[in-house]
């Protein structure tokens, strides 16, 4: 006796809880892998999920087992040339293994690593963890492009609940009119009138004969017009809905960074997180994003991402060179009518003394009128540098567009974004 059961529709993901327990337990390892990914990956690939590797040693579950040593007999299959009494050296590394036993992976120090993938969601969760983002913002960052469903006329195919009754009946009516000819209908009407007239007269065999003939004729004519169905399949009209991606505009993001000698690798890594966050935010809001990297010391240069973060150059610091270059690029390639322009600048705040005034001039005249948002982060633990003081004046004038923040660790990156999100999500201005 057998029962056959289809379980395919049953709850899937039974292991979800166990999987989460596992991730929770190895949080530190995963966090490290995510940090590495942030460091190694291009900004544009950051939200891809990722691979996490944990040394087998850390993950094994200990049990009592025999170690190497002692006496043991082992049986192997597939003997070719051995005879009783043969002796040979122990295979390297295997110890208790015996001839060619599959222990190669344990040789020497090299240990197998346990590698697995985490999804995009999990990856972002871990990445946001020490950024202290509010939950709402996290959610917004993780959401894929949103679509809006809009009406777009009528179609002849669709699901029943989209059926448009008025349109369908109108089409049916039109079809019926089109398929029966006018003459037949007029003929029927004329014959009916004749019939009614006859019925009013006094009965006689002749009249009865005539009436019967008329009736037969009318039935015959009606038959041909009745063959047309009242409502046919192809009369049906459905409301047409299309999914429109929202919003669909374009944005360009400028990453501007000081690479003078005073910027250490850890400062650069923090700057990278800041840029990533901005990128993710823009990614959610705009369909197409371009990223422009501008690095500068005494003069500025447009570079690719690799060079931006990792090539080493030293020199003095003239911030205005980078601002001027950005302004040039905007003029050349990104007309503000077509592009939403965002600029994120990271620096340790150190600038050549005579240059700060030039910076605020370029900002107020050439850049801020064209950009959506300019975010400046000063990554330093010391007192504010001269560029900061200069920028404070700019902030007075362009409160809406210009944000500045001093960052000493990653947790402070978010406040810079708060204004930006408030503007986007609630439409209110920052009050304090």
């Amino acid at each position: 006796m057998s029962y056959i059961i289809d379980r395919r529709e049953n709850a899937k993901k039974k292991s979800t809880v166990n999987r989460q327990r596992f991730l929770r337990r190895y949080k530190q390892h995963i966090k490290k892998a995510v940090e590495e990914a942030i460091h190694d990956r291009s900004i544009k690939d950051i939200d891809q999920g990722g691979q996490v590797t944990i040394p087998k040693r850390d993950i094994s579950e200990p049990v009592f087992h025999h170690g190497e040593g002692g006496i043991r007999h082992k049986i192997f299959p597939g003997n070719q040339e051995f005879v009783e009494g043969d002796e040979f050296r122990r295979p390297e590394g295997g110890g208790g293994g015996g001839a060619g036993q599959g222990k190669a992976s344990n040789q020497g120090e090299g240990e197998d690593d346990f590698t697995f993938n985490i999804s995009q969601d999990e990856f972002l969760d871990f990445m946001f963890e020490n950024l202290e983002l509010p939950w709402m913002v996290r959610k917004q960052l993780k959401d894929a492009t949103t679509f809006e469903t809009r009406r777009a006329g009528f179609t002849s195919a669709g699901s029943p609940e989209k059926l448009h009754i008025v349109r369908s009946l109108r089409a049916a009516h039109a079809r019926r009119i089109a398929l029966t000819d006018k003459e037949t209908r007029q003929q029927i009407r004329a014959l009916r009138k004749e019939l009614w007239a006859l019925e009013d007269t006094s009965p006689s065999p002749e009249r009865n004969e005539k009436i019967n003939a008329l009736r037969a004729r009318i039935t015959e004519l009606e038959k041909s017009s009745r063959k047309l169905p009242f409502l046919d399949d192809f009369d049906l009209r459905y409301t047409n809905m299309v999914r429109v991606p929202m919003p669909s505009s374009k944005a360009v993001m400028f990453c501007v960074m000081d690479v003078s000698g005073s910027m250490t690798q850890s400062i650069k890594d923090m700057a990278k997180r800041f840029f990533i966050l901005l990128y993710l935010f823009l990614n959610r809001n705009y369909k197409q994003i371009e990223v422009v990297f501008v690095r500068h010391h005494t003069h500025a240069k447009e570079v690719d991402e690799q060079e931006f973060f990792y090539s080493r150059e030293t020199g003095g610091t003239i911030v205005s060179s980078a601002l001027a270059l950005s302004a040039d690029i905007i003029d050349e390639r990104y007309p503000p009518a077509d592009w939403n322009i965002y600029i994120a600048q990271a620096s340790d705040g150190d600038n050549w003394d005579g240059d700060s005034a030039t910076c605020s001039k370029i900002l107020t005249e050439r850049i801020l009128p064209k950009t959506q948002y300019f975010a400046y982060v000063e990554i330093t633990t010391g007192p504010h540098q001269n560029l900061w003081h200069e920028y404070e004046h700019v902030h007075e004038v362009f409160k809406e567009q210009f944000a500045m923040q001093q960052i000493t660790d990653a947790g402070e990156i978010y406040p810079v974004f708060r204004r930006l999100f408030e503007k986007r999500t609630e439409g209110t201005h920052e009050s304090a």
Binding site: I71, I75, E84
Partner: protein, 512 residues
């Protein structure tokens, strides 16, 4: 008699439908009954590959309590599967009544028929017939018990926190292999009884424990302690059981969880001891049953080709020097032994008559059934491995003595080696040899309550490198010092471990 229906195959394509599965199951079931296979009713469940991975990673059970290690298993399986490094098992079958077998929806109808023959009639009849399963597990109660365990542990997590429960389960899992009664037979309980008794047990144990520890008095001198009778009086092999009943500091819910882990370990204990037989039995029967289908004209040549292809890859044994070699394939060994017994019964040679006088020429069905019912891997090999099969598999034995610089081939498949090889191979499947024999030896009842374990060494083999880690888990459960001594058969202590690392060694050194 069911006569062939004029060579009308059940199906010709490769796609399966529920009707076809039913038809195959009916025919295979009929043939199995003709051969005399006694089975539990079957519950055949069709699942997706994702569900198969889920089942895989909760040790093949349809439900289980939550623990990170199952998540690890899942992640690993998923990773390997996605990369195409391994195919999923075609089937999982659960020793329950009714016997639950999973079929994967991705399989062809041939594979489904193969799985039905293999799992629903092969494994199923083994579960029902073999003495180990009959005495150690209760097929009708296991699903209910797991449900009870899952709910109980979930409630504990709500009450005491996930971390606390997780730590406890980690420690229990580390000692899971030592949570079984190897010799004593447990009394099977139903889930309902289990629940009923759980509450009264909590109270009783707590009271009982208090009595035990209340009687302790301050230690007077070490000499006196040495003369006292040991506790437990006899060494206890079931470490988890001992802890559940005697650890002084555990809460009632902690004892209950230890008990759950113990019960689950006990349930899987027979499976560990009958892998060769169980798989061999199932392979033998899927081979025999499907051939019978073919002989009756119920399946096509194409069906047989596909089936034989899977069959031969399952029972393939790579030679010892192949890169794919990872020990003796239990499917190969088991299947070949089963076929070999049939051969000995049907066409015995003079050699067989000499080696197996009692079964040579007997009825093969009765002989096989008898072997299935009354043996486990160790005794099965010792009893039935024939010289013929040893030659066929070209078995040889290697002696690895760590005190000698070289390995030695001490027996090969020839007249002088047969018995030695058979004995060594049988010993290889003796759980007592595979897992270190560690037992609870003594508790210092009148002193620091330290727990002493003894490792009775086998062939001078020491313990592996994770021993200290396991002792930490044991220490968490027991709550007081743990000592472990490896002793030789002469009673000489070769090595001792302690958790926490022994303080008095330091003091001795500082005095000296």
């Amino acid at each position: 008699m069911n006569q062939p229906k004029a060579r009308q195959p059940i199906s010709t394509g490769s796609d399966w439908t529920f009707e076809l599965i039913e038809a195959y199951d009916r025919e295979i079931g009929r043939i199995a009954a003709d051969f005399g296979l006694d089975t539990y009713p079957n519950q055949i469940e069709v699942i997706t590959s994702e569900q198969m991975m889920d089942a895989y990673s909760s040790v093949g059970m349809p439900l289980n309590y939550n623990h990170w290690s199952f998540g690890k298993q899942f992640v690993e399986t998923e990773q390997n599967y996605k990369r195409g490094r391994m195919g999923l098992a075609y089937e999982i079958v659960i020793n329950s009544d009714p016997c639950i077998a999973y079929l994967m929806e991705e399989n062809t109808i041939t594979m489904q028929a193969l799985v039905i023959a293999h799992a629903c009639y092969g494994h199923n009849s083994f579960f029902k017939g073999n003495y180990l399963f009959r005495t150690w597990t209760d097929a009708s109660a296991i699903i209910d018990y797991l449900l009870f365990a899952k709910n109980y542990i979930r409630r504990c997590e709500e009450k005491h926190g996930v971390d606390e429960v997780e730590k406890l389960l980690d420690s229990c899992h580390a000692l899971m292999n030592y949570g079984v009664n190897r010799y004593k037979r447990p009394r099977p309980l139903t889930a309902a009884e289990e629940r009923e008794r759980q509450r009264s047990r909590e109270e009783y144990i707590q009271r009982h424990l208090n009595d035990l520890w209340n009687t302790t008095v301050p230690r007077k001198s070490d000499d006196e302690a040495g003369k006292l009778p040991r506790f437990p009086a006899e060494p206890e092999e079931n470490i988890l059981y001992f802890i559940e009943k005697n650890a002084p500091l555990l809460e009632p819910w902690q004892r209950e969880i230890i008990r759950i882990v113990r019960k689950v370990a006990q349930y899987f204990y027979p499976q560990k001891q009958t892998q060769v037989m169980n798989e061999g039995w199932a392979c033998f029967w899927h081979y025999t049953l499907l051939h019978q289908l073919f002989d009756e004209g119920l399946v096509t040549d194409g069906f047989m080709m596909e089936f034989l292809h899977s069959h031969s890859s399952v029972i393939y044994q790579p030679p010892f020097d192949s890169p794919y070699f990872s020990g003796i394939n239990p499917y190969t060994l088991g299947y070949n032994m089963m076929q070999d017994i049939r051969r000995i019964c049907e066409k015995p040679t003079d050699e067989d008559r000499e080696w197996f006088p009692d079964i040579a020429g007997s009825d093969w069905r009765e002989t096989l059934m008898d072997a299935m019912r009354n043996y486990k891997d160790e005794s099965f090999i010792l009893q039935f491995l024939s010289p013929h099969l040893m030659r066929e598999l070209k078995l040889f034995s290697i002696l690895d003595d760590s005190s000698r610089p070289t390995l030695r081939v001490d027996a090969i498949h020839n007249e002088r080696g047969y018995r030695a090889i058979r004995e060594s191979l049988s010993a290889q499947y003796n759980l007592g040899n595979r897992e270190p024999n560690i037992q609870v030896y003594n508790v210092n009842v009148r002193g620091d309550r330290a727990l002493t374990l003894r490792h009775y060494m086998h062939n001078g083999q020491p313990l592996g490198e994770s021993t200290d880690e396991v002792l930490k888990h044991l220490h968490r459960l027991w709550g007081f010092d743990i000592r472990l001594e490896s002793v030789t058969p002469d009673g000489e202590v070769m090595q001792s471990y302690a958790c926490p690392p022994q303080a008095h060694e330091l003091t001795v050194e500082s005095i000296a």
